[in-house]
C-alpha cells in the first residue's frame, strides 16, 4: 500500500498540496461534494432573496434589474454549480468502489476537471459586482435579450459556461473510460450497480450535448462582439434558432440531472427493503430509453413560439412517450419495496419522498406535454412548480439521501439518526409548502420571473415564501449534521454499515481506505 494522504499534522503546505494536486478519486469526490454544497448554499441564498422580495406585492427589498439577476444566477448556480458537480462527486467516490477499480481511468484529467470549476464560478459570480450587473436574462438566456440587450458582463458569463462545459465533458469522458476499462474481473455490464449504469448513460448525454451548449454561447459571443447575426432578425438571423439550439442541449440536460438521482435511489431502496432491486434489466433499458427520447423532444419547451402544427403534434406525442419508461422505473421501485422488510432510516425516507414527489412532478410534466393545455401553463409558476418538484424533490432529495447513505462509509462515523429524521421532515414539509402553492399561482395566471405581481396572487406567494425559508433552514441542518458526524460521530467498524447493503463498496473497510482494490476483486 502506498503512503497515506497528508493530514493537517503534516503541516499546512503538505495538506493544501494534497488537495490541489490530488489524483485520488476519493479526494476529488470529496472536493466535488464540498464545492457543490458551497454552490448549493450560494444558489439557495439567491433563492431566499427572490422569495423575500416576492413575500408581498410591490418592490420592497430589491429593484427589478437585480431581481432578474437573482433568478438567472439562482438557476445557473443550482444547475451547473450545485446539482451536476454533486453527482460527479458521487460518481468519483462510488463508481471505482462499485466496479472494483483502484481509481478513475484518467486521474490527472480528473484533477483538472474539478479545479477549473471554482474559477468558472468565481468568474460567473464576479459579474454581480461589475458595472451593469450580472446576467439578467434567465438561465435559459434567450437571444436577443442575452445578446443585443445584455449587460456587458455577458462575455464573462459566456466564458464561465465554456469552462463548465469543458469540466463536464472531461468528467464524463473519465467516467466512460473508467467503466469501459476498469471493471473487476467478472463485473459484466449487466452486473453493474444501477448507479453506475445511470451514470454511464448520463456521461454519454453530457458528451453529446455540452458541445451544443458551447456552440450556442459561441454564436452569442460572435453576435455580440464580431457583428454576426445568428440570432438577430435585423441581420437575417433568427431568435428562434437560439431556442432550438439551447433546448437541444437543455432537454437532455434535465435528464443529466435526474438520471444519476434515479441511480442513487435504485441503490438505497433495495438496501432498506432488504430485497434485490426489482426489474434490474428493465431499469437499464428504461434509463437508456429515457436518454434516447431526451434528444427528440426538445421543442416541447417552445410550444408557444409559433411552430407549424405538424411540429407541435410530433413534439407532443414524443414527449408523452417519456411517461412510459419513467413509469416503469417508479413501478420497479415500489415493487422492490413490496414484500420486503422495510426500515425507514434517513436515506430511505429521502428516497421514498423522492419517489412520491418526483412522480408528482412527472404527472405535471405529462400535463405540460399536452400542447393545447401548455398554451396556458407555459412560462407560468405551474412550470416553476413542476421543475422544482423534479429538480429539488428529485435530484436534491436523492443527493441528500446519498450523503446520509454513504457518509458512514466515507468517514467511518455514523450520523445522528434523530437529527437526520428531523431534517428530513423539515425539508419535506418546507419543500411542499414552498412549491405546492406555485401550481395554483401558475394556473391562476402568474407568469414566472416576475419581480412583482398583482394583488390576486398575494396569498399564495406569502405561503410559498414561508415554505422556502423553512426549506432553506433544512439545508443548514444538513450541513450541521454532516459536520457533527465528521467531528464527533459514533465510529462504525462494520464493513457493511447497513444490514441490507449489497455491492463491492460494502466489502472494503469502513472508513474506506485511501487506496482500495489495489488487487481487483473477483465478481461471481
Amino acid at each position: 500500500m502506498a503512503h497515506g494522504p497528508a493530514t493537517l499534522a503534516d503541516g499546512w503546505k503538505a495538506y493544501i498540496s494534497r488537495w490541489v494536486f490530488t489524483t485520488n478519486h476519493k479526494d476529488i469526490g470529496t472536493l466535488y461534494l464540498w464545492f457543490s454544497f458551497a454552490m448549493f448554499i450560494l444558489g439557495g441564498a439567491f433563492a431566499m432573496i427572490i422569495r423575500a422580495e416576492l413575500f408581498q406585492p410591490g418592490m420592497q427589498l430589491i429593484k427589478p434589474e437585480f431581481f432578474n439577476q437573482m433568478t438567472t444566477m439562482h438557476g445557473l448556480v443550482m444547475v451547473f454549480g450545485a446539482i451536476m458537480p454533486a453527482f460527479v462527486g458521487l460518481a468519483n467516490w462510488m463508481i471505482p468502489l462499485m466496479i472494483g477499480a483502484p481509481d478513475m481511468a484518467l486521474p490527472r484529467m480528473n484533477n483538472l476537471s474539478f479545479w477549473i470549476l471554482p474559477f468558472a464560478f468565481a468568474i460567473l459570480t464576479s459579474t454581480l459586482f461589475m458595472e451593469g450587473g450580472g446576467p439578467n436574462f434567465g438561465w435559459t438566456f434567450y437571444a436577443p435579450l442575452s445578446t443585443t440587450y445584455a449587460p456587458e458582463s455577458v462575455n464573462f458569463f459566456i466564458f464561465a459556461i465554456h469552462i463548465m462545459g469543458a469540466s463536464s465533458i472531461m468528467g464524463s469522458i473519465n467516467i466512460i473510460a473508467t467503466v469501459m476499462n476498469m471493471r473487476a474481473p467478472g463485473m459484466t455490464y449487466m452486473k453493474m450497480p444501477l448507479f453506475v449504469w445511470t451514470w454511464v448513460i448520463t456521461a454519454f448525454l453530457l458528451v453529446a450535448v455540452m458541445p451544443v451548449l458551447a456552440g450556442a454561447v459561441t454564436m452569442m459571443l460572435m453576435d455580440i462582439n464580431f457583428g454576426t447575426s445568428f440570432f438577430n432578425a435585423a441581420g437575417g438571423g433568427d431568435p428562434v434558432l437560439f431556442q432550438h439550439v439551447f433546448w437541444f442541449f437543455g432537454h437532455p440536460e434535465v435528464y443529466i440531472i435526474i438520471l444519476p438521482a434515479f441511480g442513487v435511489v435504485s441503490q438505497i431502496i433495495p438496501t432498506f427493503s432488504r430485497k434485490p432491486l426489482f426489474g434490474y434489466s428493465s431499469m437499464v433499458y428504461a434509463t437508456a430509453a429515457i436518454a434516447f427520447l431526451s434528444f427528440v423532444v426538445w421543442a416541447h419547451h417552445m410550444f408557444t413560439v409559433g411552430m407549424p402544427i405538424a411540429g407541435e403534434l410530433y413534439f407532443m406525442y414524443a414527449t408523452m412517450l417519456i411517461a412510459v419508461p419513467t413509469g416503469v422505473k417508479v413501478f420497479n421501485w415500489i415493487t422492490t419495496m413490496y414484500k420486503g422488510s422495510l426500515t425507514f432510516e434517513t436515506p430511505m425516507l429521502f428516497s421514498i419522498a423522492f419517489v412520491i414527489l418526483f412522480t408528482f412532478g412527472g404527472f405535471t410534466g405529462l400535463m405540460l406535454s399536452i400542447a393545447a393545455a401548455d398554451m396556458q401553463y407555459h412560462d407560468t409558476y405551474f412550470v416553476v412548480a413542476h421543475f422544482h418538484y423534479v429538480m429539488v424533490a428529485g435530484a436534491v432529495f436523492s443527493g441528500t439521501a446519498a450523503i446520509y447513505y454513504w457518509l458512514p462509509k466515507w468517514c467511518g462515523k455514523m450520523y445522528n439518526e434523530t437529527m437526520g429524521q428531523v431534517q428530513f421532515w423539515v425539508a419535506f414539509v418546507g419543500f411542499n409548502i414552498a412549491f405546492m402553492p406555485q401550481h395554483f399561482l401558475g394556473l391562476a395566471g402568474m407568469p414566472r420571473r416576475y419581480a412583482d405581481y398583482g394583488l390576486q396572487f398575494a396569498d399564495w406567494n406569502m405561503v410559498s415564501s414561508v415554505g422556502a425559508f423553512i426549506y432553506g433552514g433544512a439545508q443548514i441542518m444538513l450541513l450541521f449534521n454532516v459536520i457533527m458526524t465528521i467531528r464527533n460521530g459514533k465510529p462504525v467498524a462494520d464493513e457493511k454499515v447497513w444490514e441490507g447493503a449489497e455491492g463491492l463498496e460494502w466489502t472494503v473497510a469502513t472508513p474506506a481506505p485511501y487506496h482500495t482494490f489495489a488487487k481487483p476483486p473477483q465478481v461471481k
Partner: protein, 381 residues
C-alpha cells in the same frame, strides 16, 4: 392573518371537493383561484377540458400507485416482523405496466390533438389585429382601419415602491386597453420589436410569443362582454412584470362607436401637428411621456443606471444640438437597448419629451422643440 389562513384552508378543501366547479367563476380576480380559468372562448374551453382530463387521469393513477405504496410501507415493515422475499423479476407484470400506460397515452392523444387543432384554427377572421411587443408595453394596430395605439401600464411607480397604497387594480391597469367586439372572430398577429415577449390572455386561451422578425398567430371569438386581463409571459428585461395585457370586449354597437372615435382622434391629431406649442405645455406633457416611456431605464431623476442605462442629466446629447437629440429618439441607437420610438410615440409626444429632457434636471438648454421639428427630421430621412 388568521382569517386569511382559514380562507386558504377552505379554498384548498373546496379544491378537493369540487374541482370541476372551480373554473366557472370567470373573470373573478379572487385571491384564492386554484385552477385554470375556463375562459370565454372555444380555445380556452378546449385547454381547460383537456387540462381537467389530465388532472383526473393523473389523480386516478396517483391514488392507485401511492395507495399501493403506502400499503406496502405499512404492511411490509420490519418492525411488524416482515421477512423479505427474494423475487426480482416478473415478465408479465413488467410487460403489463409498459403496455397499459402506452395504451392510456394513445387514447389521451386523441383529445389532445383535437384541442390543438382548435388552437391552430386561425383561418377566416373577421378582424385582424397586429400586436407588437415593445420593452415594456404593447402596441395594437387594427389592420385596414388605420387605428394604432400603445397600451402601457397605468400603475404609478409610487404604488410599486410602496410610497402610495396599492390600488385595487394594481398592475392590472393600462393606459388604453385593446377593444374587441363580441361575436367576431379576431385573429392576433403577434410580433416583437426588440426582444421576445409573449402575449397572453388566459381567458382567451391565447399565448403567443412576440418574436422580432416573425409573426405568430392566435385567435379569439367570444360572446361575453367584459374586461380580461393577461400578462407578458416571456422574460423581456427589467419591465417584464410591468406590461400587462388588458382587453375590453364590447357589444358590437359600442365597439363601432369606439372605433369611429379612434379614427376621428387620428384625423384630429393630424390637424394639430402644425400647432406651435408653448414651453410650459411641452414640459407638462413631456414629463408625462418621460415617466411612462423613459423613466424605467433612464430613471425619473434622469441619472440612469450606471453601466447599463446612460444618464440624460448633463448628457452631451441632451445638451447638444436639438437635431441630434431628436435623431436618437427616432432612430434608436444600434447595438444597445435604446430602441426607435418613431412608431411608438407621436410627433407631439417626441417633441414634448425631447423638450423635457433638454430642460429638466438643470439641463436648462432653453430651446423649444416643436412637433414640426420632429416631422421635418422624419421627412428629411
Amino acid at each position: 392573518m388568521l382569517k386569511r389562513a382559514q380562507a386558504l384552508f377552505l379554498s384548498l378543501l373546496s379544491l378537493v371537493v369540487s374541482l370541476p366547479a372551480l373554473g366557472s367563476a370567470v373573470v373573478e380576480t379572487s385571491t384564492r383561484q386554484l385552477n385554470m380559468p375556463q375562459g370565454v372562448t372555444e380555445v380556452s374551453q378546449a385547454a381547460y377540458d383537456i387540462h381537467m382530463v389530465m388532472v383526473w387521469v393523473c389523480t386516478v393513477i396517483g391514488v392507485g400507485v401511492f395507495g399501493f405504496m403506502f400499503y406496502v410501507m405499512y404492511a411490509h415493515r420490519k418492525s411488524r416482523g416482515a421477512v423479505a422475499e427474494n423475487f426480482h423479476e416478473n415478465l408479465v407484470v413488467e410487460l403489463l405496466w409498459t403496455i397499459v400506460p402506452t395504451i392510456i397515452l394513445i387514447v389521451m392523444a386523441f383529445p389532445a390533438t383535437t384541442a390543438l387543432l382548435k388552437v391552430y384554427d386561425t383561418d377566416n377572421p373577421d378582424i385582424e389585429i397586429k400586436v407588437t411587443g415593445y420593452q415594456w408595453k404593447w402596441q395594437y394596430e387594427y389592420l385596414g382601419e388605420g387605428v394604432k395605439f400603445m397600451s402601457e401600464l397605468n400603475t404609478s411607480l409610487d404604488e410599486v415602491y410602496g410610497r402610495e397604497p396599492k390600488g385595487e387594480h394594481y398592475l392590472r391597469e393600462v393606459t388604453e386597453p385593446l377593444v374587441l367586439p363580441v361575436g367576431k372572430k379576431v385573429r392576433f398577429l403577434v410580433t416583437g420589436n426588440d426582444v421576445i415577449h409573449s402575449w397572453w390572455v388566459p381567458d382567451f386561451g391565447v399565448k403567443r410569443d412576440a418574436v422580432p422578425g416573425l409573426f405568430t398567430s392566435g385567435w379569439a371569438k367570444t360572446d361575453e362582454p367584459g374586461i380580461y386581463v393577461g400578462e407578458c409571459t416571456e422574460l423581456c428585461g427589467l419591465g417584464h412584470a410591468f406590461m400587462p395585457v388588458v382587453v375590453e370586449v364590447k357589444e358590437e354597437a359600442e365597439y363601432n362607436e369606439w372605433l369611429a372615435g379612434k379614427k376621428a382622434e387620428a384625423a384630429e391629431y393630424a390637424s394639430t401637428i402644425g400647432k406651435q406649442w408653448s414651453a410650459e405645455e411641452l414640459m407638462v406633457r413631456g414629463e408625462e411621456v418621460y415617466e411612462r416611456s423613459c423613466a424605467a431605464c433612464h430613471q425619473s431623476n434622469g441619472e440612469g443606471i450606471p453601466g447599463v442605462f446612460p444618464a440624460l442629466k448633463d448628457s452631451p446629447i441632451a445638451l447638444g444640438p436639438m437635431v441630434g437629440h431628436i435623431a436618437v429618439l427616432i432612430d434608436g441607437v444600434a447595438g444597445t437597448s435604446m430602441q426607435s420610438f418613431a412608431d411608438q410615440l407621436s410627433e407631439v409626444d417626441i417633441a414634448a419629451v425631447v423638450h423635457y429632457e433638454r430642460n429638466a434636471w438643470d439641463n436648462n438648454v432653453g430651446d423649444v422643440t416643436q412637433p414640426l421639428d420632429v416631422l421635418n427630421y422624419k421627412q428629411s430621412k
